[in-house]
Symmetry: C5
């Protein structure tokens, strides 16, 4: 092969025989402000990492790290779901897993939540003052910074790779 | 062919004879918090997946999964519309359909809603307390996380592919 | 020509002699909720599509579909403006026009509006209750979902294309 | 040269001898609603275009159009700063300047402001009614649509270009 | 070398022997409005630049500029963390460091904060008027513009580079 250039195929070449498709990682996140909002550094704090896409593809990538307990219908390889999530909370690890399997991050988007969560729904109140005392100012700050972020990954189907 | 490099054509080569163009998928989404906001995992919850673009192109890609009932003007292949939507709610399936037809996801963007929806417009009230009691705290949370997201896809016209 | 590869030039090759540059499309948008917020599907609803960039370049791309009536200074091919807009409201059509002329969508971004619009400024009130009665709950919903979105397009200058 | 393919180097080749790096353009923007919120078209309205990055690189690109008056420390070519801004307000012109020098727009992001600005801080009030009368409804609308947008540009260092 | 095409490998080729992976930079930012909100130019103002990813990879890139004091578990090269941050506040410098080591910026996203921070939690009040007097209107403006931004970088593993 004289000219087998495969530039810009941003995958690591280690996969074979799989099909392509989109997988979306999503999470609701904020920052850890500590008990009194006084933590010296506010690190990222993620809720569960949700996984959406074709079930078979998600299983291939995440294997044992995938929690399927809330995805009731176990049949149908071609089935799509948005009821999977990861057992760990390491976003970059999940991204690395996807890249190792030939996926490419093609887009991300993020949006802030609006308004404040209910500290105690039974009280029927959402006044800011409920959040603001020395004990729970950290909670309040975590509400302020709540956001939802989505990472969209895509892998080309294999027959493309064979063409080049 | 000495030098048939087709690097970075991020399509799967399986289409022929079609024209290029932009198609936008959009949806208003949130998370499913359950009756009392107590669901153990809050999964993605989508409203209808809207489809915008040239009618003929949208039909070619989505075929029977496309709901055209709200797009009154059926004539004009070159016509553009923003009144189509999908019959299913699987975002990744829609993305896979587009990729199979040579489309590439070129951009996404997202923005949060602001303020709260009206639980019962006739009551003329939007006080947070309307949302916050043990029965509807889940509704309130779903309002907080409401967002609109857009996925922009593009396919190059075929005569480009013939040039290489 | 032994090696005329032009991979990944994501243009259709149909242009010649033009210069490169950035053009931004922007629009304020929301969803059509209908008179009582009861429309069965809420489609995208755009305000005017604004066009920003070098005047000559914008004219070349959009021709007769460009409204220049609010751009007072007609002189200066090298002049930049943010006072142009399209006569139609089809976002995907505008994108297709740009792609046909060799432009590539390089980025998009979106942000939600905050607070509510003034239904009747003379009344000097912005209480949510002004929006929430059976007659205008659709207006209120449209305010909630208001957002601004920007599509950034770029075309490489032609002398690059001549080099390859 | 048998095989001088430089596909997808999205630069125009006109620069030489410069180093690579990131430069970020940022601006706070909104729309011009006019005195009474009655302007027939609401065009983009930018505050100053901020420039962040290595000082020497910013100077090379923007030359005389760069305002350095607020960047007190003039020494150190390797110094980074976020205290530069442009003398003009044409975003697309700034983007074109960067592209002409071999920079590529690699990402953009945008976020809405939250709450309302203070029309007159001395009055100690931020009630919506302060904004909503026939005279200042345009001001109020401009507050609603306030957002911050960032354009991230990157240029590869030259020794890469010499390799190909 | 007959066919040494390395198109679109957007790295500078200066690294060797490293592995690939994702690294995320994140920061909460706003603008500096000055004591009375009267600073003539409002420059970007960043809180700490957070670094997330595989510990070993983060160390390789940022070396001495990485603050690891809040990452209690020092063992495990394969460990992922979100408890690292940079000692400096120059975003573009951090980006340049990543690019020098073969990383590519693949995505960014941003979301606004919602609501206002607590100026003095012990007072239990968050009324806008607390922010709006001649002395602290700058604080208020800084709250309005608070946002969180994430830059996602990726480096391909080295064995890909050896293939070409």
């Amino acid at each position: 092969m004289v000219n087998g250039t495969t530039p810009n195929v941003e995958t690591n070449g280690s996969f074979s025989g799989e099909t392509g498709g989109f997988i979306t990682l999503g999470y609701r996140g904020t920052f850890a402000f500590g008990r009194d909002g006084q933590a010296d550094v506010k690190f990222r704090k993620l809720h569960r990492i949700l996984v959406c896409g074709r079930v078979q593809l998600c299983r291939e990538i995440f294997g044992d790290t995938l929690n399927e307990s809330r995805d009731p219908d176990r049949e149908g390889a071609e089935r799509y779901t948005s009821r999977l999530y990861l057992k760990h909370q390491c976003l970059e690890k999940a991204c690395d897993n996807l890249a190792e399997k030939g996926f490419k991050l093609v887009a991300t988007c993020s949006s802030g939540a609006n308004g404040l969560a209910t500290p105690n729904p039974a009280q029927g109140s959402n006044a800011p003052s409920d959040y603001m005392n020395p004990r729970n100012s950290g909670d309040y700050e975590e509400q302020r910074w709540a956001h939802y972020t989505e990472y969209v990954f895509y892998r080309e189907p294999q027959f493309f790779h064979m063409n080049i």
